[in-house]
């Protein structure tokens, strides 16, 4: 892994970044939206934070449709606890 460049954000960067969440959620006032967008247009580092944050959320939202696999043994025990063993195929009991 390459070393991480360290960027000391200016006060303006700090303020912009503190509003990123509201911006992403569409909860930022139009005036602040304009300020933030103007800043992102000229500040490479803030734009990187914004872009990678969006990519992060894009990936995470895909997890909604892809739940982790339910282990078969866990499923069997659940059916047993619920007294539903009759629904367990005989070969798998």
């Amino acid at each position: 892994m390459s070393s991480h460049p360290q960027h000391q954000h200016t006060g303006s960067c700090q303020e912009v970044l503190s509003h990123l969440n509201d911006y992403i959620d569409g909860e930022l006032s139009p005036e602040l939206c304009q300020e933030l967008e103007a800043h992102l247009a000229v500040c490479h580092n803030c734009r990187v934070v914004f872009d990678t944050l969006n990519k992060t959320l894009y990936l995470v939202h895909q997890l909604r449709e892809n739940p982790p696999e339910l282990p078969e043994t866990v499923e069997y025990r659940l059916f047993a606890v619920m007294n539903l063993e009759q629904f367990v195929p005989r070969k798998r009991k």
């Binding site: 360290q6 990678t52 992060t56």
Partner: protein, 199 residues
């Protein structure tokens, strides 16, 4: 096909399934479990980070659902109702843990301008190029598991379970502003954790 082989098409719609559940039809119960258990387990394992605790929550959720199904009025979808039961059960487990990192109710400090902001390495991939393959999924699940519990619970409820910020705050018994702060921190922290994998 893995798991138990149950015909999910016995009940033509959710209303029929709920009706059968209220009658105490065991086949309906099996059908509900088969249909919703993966997502209930997903909530539990993500929130608790512990397979044994997650299994307990899974069982508690369906035992509670069958016990209380007559109270289900259909104002929400059955899945939503089950998710809420599972979420509450998982939160109960978290609160019972003796050695948790930070209490769910404990406020967290925010330091604007900390390392999260200063680390600005760009990612070299475009998400569209990445189908949700098992490798990306594993990386994401591990990254979420690395989040501190206080941040993780808010993040999961808001970003994966799809609750609004207001609902998330209500479920966790925290203020809306606290939920927003935690979500902000969680998103940035997750981005930071994922950066080495995608650069």
């Amino acid at each position: 096909m893995t798991g138990l082989e149950i015909d999910l098409d016995i009940y033509p719609d959710e209303a029929s399934l709920v009706e059968a559940l209220k009658r105490g039809d065991p086949e309906a119960c099996a059908c509900m479990i088969k249909q919703y258990a993966p997502r209930v387990y997903a909530i539990a394992i993500r929130m608790l980070n512990d397979p044994d605790d997650a299994e307990e929550v899974l069982q508690e959720t369906f035992i509670s659902a069958c016990k209380n199904i007559k109270k289900f009025e259909g104002r929400s979808a059955l899945g939503t109702w089950l998710h809420r039961i599972a979420t509450n059960a998982a939160l109960m487990h978290i609160r019972k843990r003796k050695h948790r990192e930070v209490s769910l109710d404990e406020p967290i400090e925010v330091h604007d301008g900390d390392d999260i902001y200063r680390e600005v390495q760009d990612w070299t991939f475009a998400p569209d190029d990445h189908a949700m393959n098992s490798e990306v999924r594993d990386v994401l699940e591990k990254a979420i598991a690395e989040l501190p519990e206080t941040l993780r619970t808010v993040f999961i409820l808001r970003e994966i379970e799809g609750y609004s910020t207001e609902e998330t705050a209500q479920i966790l018994g925290i203020s809306i502003s606290a939920a927003k702060v935690r979500l902000h921190r969680a998103r940035l922290r997750l981005r930071q954790i994922l950066t080495p994998y995608f650069t």
